[in-house]
Subunit: 291 residues, 2 copies
Amino acid sequence: MTARLIDGKAISADIRGEVKEAAERLRAKGIVPGLATVLVGNDPASAKYVSMKRKKCAEVGIESFHHELPHEATQEQVLELVTRLGADPAVHGILVQLPLPKQIDEPTILNAVPLAKDVDGFHPLNIGALAMKGRDPAFVPCTPNGFIELLDRSGTEISGANAVVLGRSNIVGMPVALLLVGRNATVTICHSRTQNLPEVTARADILIAAIGRAHFVTSDMVKPGATVIDGGTNVIDDASRKSGKRLVGDVDFGAVQEIAGAITPVPGGVGPMTIAMLLQNTVRSAARDAG
Amino acid sequence: MTARLIDGKAISADIRGEVKEAAERLRAKGIVPGLATVLVGNDPASAKYVSMKRKKCAEVGIESFHHELPHEATQEQVLELVTRLGADPAVHGILVQLPLPKQIDEPTILNAVPLAKDVDGFHPLNIGALAMKGRDPAFVPCTPNGFIELLDRSGTEISGANAVVLGRSNIVGMPVALLLVGRNATVTICHSRTQNLPEVTARADILIAAIGRAHFVTSDMVKPGATVIDGGTNVIDDASRKSGKRLVGDVDFGAVQEIAGAITPVPGGVGPMTIAMLLQNTVRSAARDAG
């Protein structure tokens, strides 16, 4: 049996549609949702991400304010820019594109984003609230939130499920684990030091792969019928492509789709979700700001 | 084979000895470590905890400043007191004894404790830092930190171990799970909605019980040779005692000690550790304040 595809393109389009409607309701009240994007340096991949985010903003009715600083920018310059955007009432969300150049301390910059505009959801206060009962984060981090939407909108039952999260990064693995605990899954957090990993992953009703290793999850590591969310975005060589390269996930898709019950493809799975959730957070921020 | 006892009394006494030496070094420099305790209302158990903490403070050379407010105190009164203590340079740590009376919003009060004096480690910023790589919490929450000390000082290898945490509370289960992930254990977080719980716990090399249900963990739930940390402090009826009551853990100690490799008793396991870690955090705060 071949796994059902969880279509991130279609699901993210639905979410962008909802966001667009919410933005229109705000505009009707005279509020224009605004996202500031900050790009430091000239990394082409980062520039492409930012430009894609701005394009999607325009499509849903979010105004974007783009700011670029040179690769040699000082920490003070970045800090000053972020502080200024933090005080700008037209800006409801601030996106600092990561990674930042080496001379800049990432935590210092991210801490300078006011909590109310932290649409990326990376602030430690947000992560703390995510880990705690009775606290609501100001914003849920976009990529992990996208994973949860994919599970929910593909009809995967989270409560009571055995969820295994492969990877414990600040921006994907750990927050998605915390979200899954909050949704009453039994959650196992695995990483490079995990022993007998295939045994652990093969018990997962929900398997989240977020380790950044191409084709790492093989079919023997997957429980028959499991829902597999592939959070990997790895570029590998592919001579058959004009570019000589190809984007693949952390999951050996071809083999795993024969075992799993449902699976996200790469591309077209988690990728488009991150931006959709960023747009959702921005419009929510504008709505909150409007009271 | 009977499990080795992990002696929380002896280990906590070692830690208090270390804290006393650190306090003496500070006093020699003219710095007196100070802990403010805040008790709202007249709950006898809370009063007893606070008085025990103050007694232990005195033993290790920490000055304690006790403040009581009546059960009917308003939120403003508690907030004003905590704010005043936050600004007092003689106070290096503030302990607000929980639970607070119903009219008082606990998160509001705890958020008012300055991060630099949050020796309980309950602030969401602290919890967020605990969950994130590359961030150091100002203080590690006392009870979970005590569990880790019990593991370390009893020679239990954490890195690579399968650790199962039963319970996901803000003050015990979740932070201990985050600490264990940080120490490279593979961590499974279980709770009331976990399916087939005995199967899950029986895979644990390290089993942490923190659910508040007397004798819940039975011998069939424990892997032979596992290290079991019993975080339960449940009062049950016991006609053979003069008080008619007895303190027991979440673990069926009598049966589980025949299976486990090492186990903490109740009382005398995790109990004395919490205060020891509170004292440690307070003296560390004073040392940090002194530069």
